[in-house]
């Protein structure tokens, strides 16, 4: 009852021995996530959190059959971590770090293109299928297994959306943070497509925010779907004024300054229900008349 990850997903942790990693990996394991391996160069052959540690992703995959990874490596090492994940042909990698240089992301996107690997993030809380697997840093105790898919660019608003589904008496099939960076591995349309294919997702909550045209691209994809599941949308950042800027290139690339209202309009036109306040999501969910979790 999920997309991308479930209780069978075999997870390896890139950078498992760090303080942050240890803290979150332990929580994920306690949650039931099947963590099968860790990778920390130079620490191969040891055990950490009772999990075998390898020097490379390739080795870890060969020995344990891992098919997904969570990276807890610092921003400047993300590029080489993704390279390893792609070369080992992992299905999924989740990158938590923020502050990955944009040029590195350009190279990372080129690596991912045509590869077997889907990257979630960077700068994301990760992905969680309630009751089954937690890949990332979600506060796991707020989640309820259910049939609402959540996809969001903002971390904290992901948590808000989860609470809103709970409030409506519903639960979540899978919750995904796309990441709050300028360039990220996975887009709204990718996740919307997966949620539409998932027989255990009845409706979707989509949370956008100012910057870029990610929401517009998601809306455009949704508009052309034959059988559309209900999408409740919200876009954050309306109260934020445009700061002073330098030059015009930014405006040219997006065809003028894109406001939060532009994004809301694009989503509404595509057939999504867009709410003004994130705390209105539960009302709209309740209106769908879905079976309670």
């Amino acid at each position: 009852m999920s997309i991308l990850v479930d209780k069978h997903t075999k997870v390896l942790i890139q950078g498992i021995t760090g303080t942050q990693a240890s803290f979150h990996v332990k929580r994920s394991m306690d949650y039931g996530t099947k963590v099968v391996a860790g990778v920390t160069p130079g620490k191969g052959g040891t055990f950490h959190l009772d999990v075998p540690v390898f020097n490379t992703v390739q080795e870890a995959v060969k020995e344990t059959g891992a098919n997904a990874s969570v990276m807890y490596v610092p921003a400047r090492f993300v590029k080489s971590a993704v390279k390893e994940a792609v070369e080992a042909e992992l299905d999924l990698s989740v990158c938590i770090a923020d502050g990955v240089p944009i040029k590195d992301m350009l190279e990372i996107k080129a690596m991912l293109h045509g590869s077997e690997t889907r990257l979630i993030g960077p700068n994301t809380p990760g992905i969680i299928t309630p009751g089954e697997a937690r890949l990332g840093i979600f506060p796991e105790n707020i989640h309820t297994p259910g049939r609402i898919g959540i996809v969001s660019r903002s971390s904290t608003l992901t948590y808000e959306a989860v609470l809103e589904t709970n409030r409506a008496g519903l639960g979540q099939s899978t919750v995904i943070g796309l990441g709050d960076d300028m360039i990220v591995g996975t887009a709204f349309e990718d996740i919307l497509e997966l949620f539409h294919k998932d027989t255990n997702t009845d409706a979707i909550v989509m949370i956008g925010q100012m910057g870029g045209t990610f929401e517009e691209a998601g809306a455009e994809f949704y508009k052309h779907l034959k059988h559309r599941k209900p999408v409740i949308g919200f876009v954050a950042g309306n109260a934020v004024p445009f700061g002073h800027k330098m030059g015009y290139a930014g405006d040219v690339i997006t065809n003028g300054s894109i406001t939060v209202q532009d994004k809301r309009d694009a989503m509404t036109k595509a057939g999504m229900t867009v709410v003004d306040s994130i705390n209105n999501i539960h009302d709209e969910l309740a209106k769908l008349g879905l079976a309670k979790a």
């Binding site: 610092p74 944009i102 590195d104 350009l106 904290t156 330098m246 030059g247 405006d251 040219v252």
Partner: protein, 400 residues
């Protein structure tokens, strides 16, 4: 991080881009001397060095600066001094600065370039396609801002290959679009691929030449330059750090001031939160002694409002240079438990991606520790100032 026009021009000139002769001046006398040095005859251009577009359309707040904008053409040497004197120390407001404007503390004195045609060039990250995009606009008598808003379809956009830049075919596309003759091919190629290489090498997020000019020989000259560098990549460009103009960039300081805190930034990697000047200096000394440097410190003084403290802490947590946070507080008036609540609120809002060591002493210290322990945040608690620095350095090393 943005750099000034004169700095950006110097950088791109190292990539074979032609720029007019010029030099930066901080005083009217310097301006006059530079003008004489670069050309024995006018006119000269005096250009206010603030990080904003539309400087020529800007207006100075001070009447003494005269009615003209931030870019002035001066014909006589004696007027170079007069005009520079008017502009320096005055505040320029442009459509891009916001109403407060920006203080002009330096001007760029440049030789006047005679060109037959001008056009707009920008390199920017296309975040949707994850590519570097070249934007070229034949602006003729229009403004690029108007073209961007009303007729963006007239602007040429080409995605460049990250490794090789523009292809021969793309160069010819630009040549045809701008209606330039064959004699400009070589210069145009050098111009576009020089800019592309500079963009890649500098980890730029935006590089704009607005305008570029074409002279009688068909050569392309960068008449202006704007460059923004990715803050997240500054760790591999330590040489750029001195180019930073604190007046232009330190909005963290302004945010801190609003809450009655004091914020100062340096060039190290540790962010400190303290509650007094003495403890700040002591912590910085200790960090230096142990071989690290301070990125910034925030003095929350006797701040008692939990939300204010949280916003102050966020200022530190979101500083891209900070690789570890040290909170060192001797609570007197400041109640440690409020600071603890502030830390928890800030960390859960912006996330905690670097090691954080807390050392509390004084009022409500035990309650504060209790709050931090309950928060389940990955904090490290230390017993003394020295202990806190040691623990932080160890945690930062482990995180690397």
């Amino acid at each position: 991080m943005n750099v000034h026009e004169y700095q950006a021009k110097k950088i791109i000139s190292q990539y074979g881009i032609k720029i007019p002769k010029g030099q930066v001046a901080y005083t009217p006398l310097e301006a006059k001397n530079i003008a004489r040095k670069i050309s024995y005859r006018g006119p000269w251009m005096l250009k206010a060095q603030i990080q904003s577009g539309a400087r020529n359309k800007g207006k100075f707040i001070e009447k003494s600066a005269g009615r003209k904008g931030g870019i002035r053409e001066v014909k006589h040497l004696s007027d170079v001094y007069v005009e520079a004197d008017k502009m320096l120390g005055a505040t320029l407001v442009t459509p891009q600065t916001g109403p407060k404007g920006k203080l002009v503390s330096r001007i760029y004195v440049e030789e006047f370039s005679i060109v037959k045609k001008i056009f707009y060039t920008g390199l920017v990250i296309d975040r949707m396609n994850a590519a570097i995009t070249l934007l070229i606009a034949d602006i003729k008598n229009r403004e690029i801002s108007e073209m961007a808003a009303h007729s963006p379809e007239l602007i040429l956009r080409l995605n460049l290959d990250l490794l090789t830049g523009a292809s021969q075919e793309q160069i010819h596309q630009v040549l045809d679009y701008l209606e330039l003759g064959e004699k400009s091919v070589q210069s145009l190629e050098q111009f576009i691929n020089g800019l592309h290489q500079a963009f890649v090498d500098c980890d730029a997020t935006m590089l704009e030449v607005n305008p570029a000019g074409v002279n009688a020989k068909g050569d392309i000259i960068a008449l202006d330059a704007k460059l923004s560098i990715d803050d997240n990549a500054l760790f591999r460009h330590k040489d750029f750090l001195p180019l930073q103009d604190e007046y232009e960039t330190e909005d963290r300081e302004l945010k801190a001031n609003k809450n009655g805190f004091q914020y100062s930034s340096f060039d190290g990697s540790i962010g400190c939160i303290v509650n007094g000047d003495g403890i700040a200096l002591a912590a910085m000394d200790l960090i230096r002694e142990k071989g690290e440097g301070t990125a910034c410190f925030l003095n929350v003084k006797g701040g008692v409002d939990k939300d204010k403290i949280a916003s102050g802490i966020k200022i530190i947590m979101t500083n891209p240079r900070v690789e570890g946070i040290l909170i060192n507080v001797l609570g007197g008036f400041l109640r440690c438990n409020l600071l603890a609540e502030g830390i928890v609120a800030a960390a859960s809002e912006v996330g905690l991606n670097v090691p954080l060591v807390v050392r509390f002493e004084g009022t409500n210290k035990d309650e504060a520790k209790e709050i931090l322990l309950h928060s389940k945040l990955p904090l490290i608690i230390a017993d003394s100032m020295e202990d806190s620095v040691d623990k932080l350095l160890a945690a930062m090393e482990a995180a690397d």
